[in-house]
Structure formats: structure tokens, C-alpha cells
Symmetry: C2
């Protein structure tokens, strides 16, 4: 079992070798641009790690790994159109640099490229791989739709939020790990346990995202603190606050939610953060993250793998959940 | 070999039986709405016809047929967003009735549903089917991009236009026929010939579309005559006119292209049509349609099938190419 950077190197090399036809340029340039933006590449790395941990040759899982990264980047591309996001990984998003139509059509193309790439796996594992991949894709669309629905609702529960982020972000981590297990032709119990492990890791990861937006250290976080608060984003924290706040606290929260004055942005961030703290959400948030990562570690313990592999995954879980950015 | 309506009945029944989860409603309702809009269902009918003509059981091809219709409707859904089209088959388009985000995400979901559906074919034909389906999808995106590129260009040649419509519309008819051949486990020569037959049929069909917009009979055409002219749509006719017109004709054409005054719409349609006729484009258009349908008939002759099946395809080609709407 090698370290993260070893797998990352394999993944990056494979991504650099993706072939893009030269014409139509407006179709393929945005795809090459998107794939070159980088990112942590956590999903394809998980696929290779999982394959090797379960006794497979990680290079046999490279197509599945690249397919999942292509798919992930397709979802970001279309999500950025839907969210009108101007920036992704420090660069203009595709719909900003080109236009909406280019973003829609390049995204469609990436989805089919991802499907073509996943199809390159061996005959022996083709059907379970397609089944996992397509099922995961559908779940992710459902998660994105729930996320958009939630923005229009005022009665979202914390359970609904967890269900939404499970669909929108966690199942793809599960898919990444299980894809590696499928290539390794692992026992079904192991494939399922490593899937569940990654789903729990994904939940912890997403809640950590929500946490860092509020209590992250501006010097290490990499983006502005408080963006979710400023934009009234329905995070784990805001949803819990809306459900828990009573009396004056509820009135104050409502007042800040109604305020979009840019001049009051810092005041809003400070006030809402103070409210979160008063409501005990900093502790609830840490505890929930801790619970999901403990669950991930427990599930990891159920998967038969070498001590060394186990250790690598354990490190990764701890790193992802305790990350500062 | 049964008639068109027999296959259409099988297709419509299968489409009615597609399962849509109830939640999230905003994701699945637009898909059910789109699939219920109907249409000629020419592609899935071709799949069943082709399968039966080549010795297969058409019901074994029903998943492939439905997958291709799902895929086709996904492309219409996303194209309508890109083209800002308000109406499709007499009803508001999804992005008009809901919104752009709903249209983007429902479309993505339809694409993955199509891929899931195509995957239901037998193991023996899974790989060639996926290869055909994914390759066709990529070609269609390329065609759509070329179509959008052409709207910004003034030097498009007739050959480029034919290449574009081959990608954007004809290869899916080819795919529909070849999918039936693959399920029937037909000989490769037959599968390829029926593919080429359908591609030529598709070219004739699309050129007939361009023709009917200008010279169709308003009482049978079903939509307003002259829409392409009014919108400066780069059809086979306009592209040829731009390349062939000289002197005063060229100046007149340019003048009308620059005119978007709604009050002059009928004048523009009459004038541009007269110019097309003066340039011999009515005859060129009929001759080109004739050439592609003759080529389709010739290729049909190369496919080994019963006299009865041959006759059914021949009828279909003649009907599609001589249609009035």
C-alpha cells in the first residue's frame, strides 16, 4: 500500500492522457479545461486504494477511477450553471468563461465520456460496475434536486439534510471505493462495507465543510469565511438553528436571514456565528462529524485487508475529517 | 413483419411502463411529461422493425428501443434550453413550464436512465450495444455544437451542413436500426448496411424538413411555414443561397437577413423563397433528397431480409421522404 501521492500521480497521469478530439473546439476545450483544474482527486484515489487494499492491481482500476473523476467534474460543471457560480478552483467556471450552452453540452459530453470510460473494465465485472455507476449517478441528481428544493423551503429537518448530502456527495465516495472493490473482485461483504465506510466518511467530510465555513481559520481555509452565512445557504448549521432557535433568537435569526445588505455582511456573519454558538451548534456539529468518522472507522475494521492498507485508510479518514481547508 | 402501428403500440406500452420515483417530484415529473408528449417514435419503431427483419424477436429489442427514445428526448430537452424554444409538440417546453435548472437536471437524469435501460440487453450483446450507443451520443453532441457554431459563421459550406445534420440527427436513426440488428445478432455486414441505410434516410428526412418549411402546404404542414426563413436559420437552403447568390441577388439576400422587423415577416418569407427558387434551390433540394433516399433504398437492398420485411422498410422510406408534415 503506497501513500496518497503515489495514487494521485497515477490518476493525474491518466487524466492528462484523456484524448479530446480537436473539433468541435467549443465542445472539447471546456472539458479539457475542467479536467485540468485539478482538485484533490479524492474519488479516483479512493478507487485505486480500495482496489489495492482488497487484493487487486490498482492499475486495473484506473479506467473506473478516471470515469468517476470525469463524472464528478461533469456534475460540478452543471451544478455551477444551476448555482450561477462564477468561480471554481480559483478559475472562471465554464459557463462564465464560455456560456451556458457550452457548459450544458460539454457537461453532457463528459457524462457520456465517463460512461464510455467505465465500460473499459473487464467483462467479468462490467455489469456490476455499470449498475453501481448508473445507480450512483441517479442518486446524485436526486440529491442536487433536493438541495435546490430545500432552498425554497423553510421546514427542512436535519435528517432531510443528511439524506440530501448523502445523495449529493457521499454516495460518490461510496461508489469510488466500491468500484475499486469490484475490480479487485472482492467478496460482496467487503465491497459493501467499504462502500458504507466511504459514505460515512463523505457525510463527515461534508459536515466538516459546513463547519469550516463558520469556524475555519481564514489563514488556512483557502476561501473566505462565512460565505454560507452571507448567502443564507441551508447548511447543517442553519437548518438546525432554524429548528432550535426560539423567541428572541428565532427573531434575530429571521432578521439576519432577511438582510442581504453587502455593507452588513461581516456583522451578519459574526451575529449568526454567535447565535450558532449560543444554540450549541459548534459542539453538535463536532459531535456529528466525530460520530460519522467513528462509524467510518468501525466499518473499515469490518473489511478484510492488510494492517498496512487499514492504516492508510485510517490516516485518510483522520486527515479528511480533521482537515483545516 | 407487421405494420408501423403494431410496433408503435409496443413502444408506447413500454414507454408508459417506465417507472418514475415520486420524489424528488421536480426531477421526475418533467421526465414523465416529456415522455408523454408523444411524437412519431420513429427511432424505437426502427429498432423493433430492424430486429424482426434480421431474424430477432422484436420484444427482445424493446429495452434498446426505449433507451434510444429516452436518449432522443433528453437531447430535445437540452436543445430546447440552448435554443430558448418555448414550444415542443404543441406544449410548453420543460424549461418554460418549470425552469432552466429543472430542464438541465431532468435531462441529465434521462441520459443516465437511457444508459441504464440500454444495459438491460443480453450479456452476449452488451458490449457492442454500449459501444454503439455511447459513440452515437458523442456524435450527436458534436452535431449540436457544430449547429450552434454555424449560427455564428457566414462561410458554412453545403458539405459542412450535411456533415452536421448527419451527426446531429441521422446517426441516431442509424443507431436505432443497428441496435435492432445487434439484438438479432445479425451478421456484421447486415448490421452495418442497415445502419448506413438509416443514416441516408435520416439525411433525406432532415432535408425534407428544411424543404417543407419553405414549400410545405400550410394546411397539412402542422406548423407555420417560413419559420426557418424568418429566423435566419442556417438550413440547407440558406447555406446554398449564401454560397450561390451573386450581385443583386446576394445584396437582396443580405438585406433580408438583416431584417428582423415582425411587420415585414411575410414579405421576408415570400422574397427569400422567390430567391431560393430563382437560384434553383427547390430543384437542388428535391434532387438531393431523392439521391439520399435512393441511396437508402440501395443499401436496404444489400441487407438480407424477407421480401415482406424489405417491403415494410421500403414503404417507410417512401413515406418519410415524401411526407407532407
Amino acid at each position: 500500500m503506497r501513500d496518497y501521492n503515489h495514487y494521485l500521480g497515477l490518476v493525474n497521469e491518466a487524466i492528462e492522457n484523456i484524448y479530446y478530439p480537436s473539433q468541435p473546439a467549443q465542445l472539447y476545450e471546456p472539458i479539457a479545461y475542467t479536467m485540468a483544474l485539478g482538485g484533490k482527486r479524492i474519488r479516483p484515489v479512493l478507487t485505486l486504494m480500495s482496489c489495492e487494499a482488497l487484493g487487486g492491481d490498482p492499475m486495473q482500476a484506473i479506467d473506473a477511477a478516471v470515469a468517476i473523476e470525469l463524472f464528478h467534474n461533469f456534475t460540478l460543471l452543471h451544478d455551477d450553471v444551476m448555482d450561477r457560480a462564477p468561480i471554481r478552483r480559483g478559475k472562471p467556471t465554464v459557463h462564465t468563461r464560455w456560456n451556458d450552452n457550452v457548459a450544458i453540452l460539454s457537461g453532457d459530453t463528459m457524462l457520456t465520456m465517463a460512461t464510455q470510460t467505465i465500460t473499459r473494465v473487464d467483462d467479468a465485472v462490467l455489469r456490476p460496475m455499470l449498475k453501481l455507476f448508473n445507480k450512483t449517478a441517479i442518486e446524485i441528481y436526486e440529491g442536487q434536486q433536493f438541495d435546490m428544493d430545500f432552498e425554497q423551503r423553510h421546514d427542512v429537518t436535519a435528517d432531510e439534510y443528511i439524506k440530501m448530502i448523502r445523495l449529493k456527495t457521499s454516495v460518490l465516495l461510496g461508489c469510488a471505493c466500491k468500484a475499486g472493490a469490484i475490480v479487485a473482485q472482492a467478496r460482496e461483504e467487503d465491497a459493501d462495507a467499504i462502500y458504507d465506510m466511504a459514505v460515512n466518511l463523505g457525510l463527515a467530510f461534508q459536515l466538516q465543510d459546513d463547519y469550516l465555513d463558520v469556524w475555519g481559520d481564514p489563514s488556512t481555509f483557502g476561501k473566505e469565511i462565512g460565505g454560507d452565512i452571507a448567502n443564507n445557504k441551508k447548511t447543517f448549521l442553519l437548518i438546525n438553528a432554524m429548528n432550535l432557535a426560539c423567541g428572541d433568537d428565532a427573531a434575530e435569526l429571521r432578521r439576519w436571514l432577511a438582510c442581504s445588505d453587502p455593507a452588513l455582511k461581516q456583522d451578519k456573519i459574526m451575529a449568526v456565528r454567535a447565535l450558532y454558538e449560543k444554540l450549541g451548534l459548534k459542539e453538535l456539529s463536532r459531535k456529528t462529524i466525530e460520530d460519522y468518522s467513528l462509524k467510518a472507522l468501525k466499518l473499515l475494521g469490518e473489511v478484510k485487508m492488510s494492517v498496512e492498507s487499514h492504516h492508510s485508510f485510517e490516516n485518510l479518514i483522520n486527515k479528511m475529517v480533521n482537515r483545516k481547508k
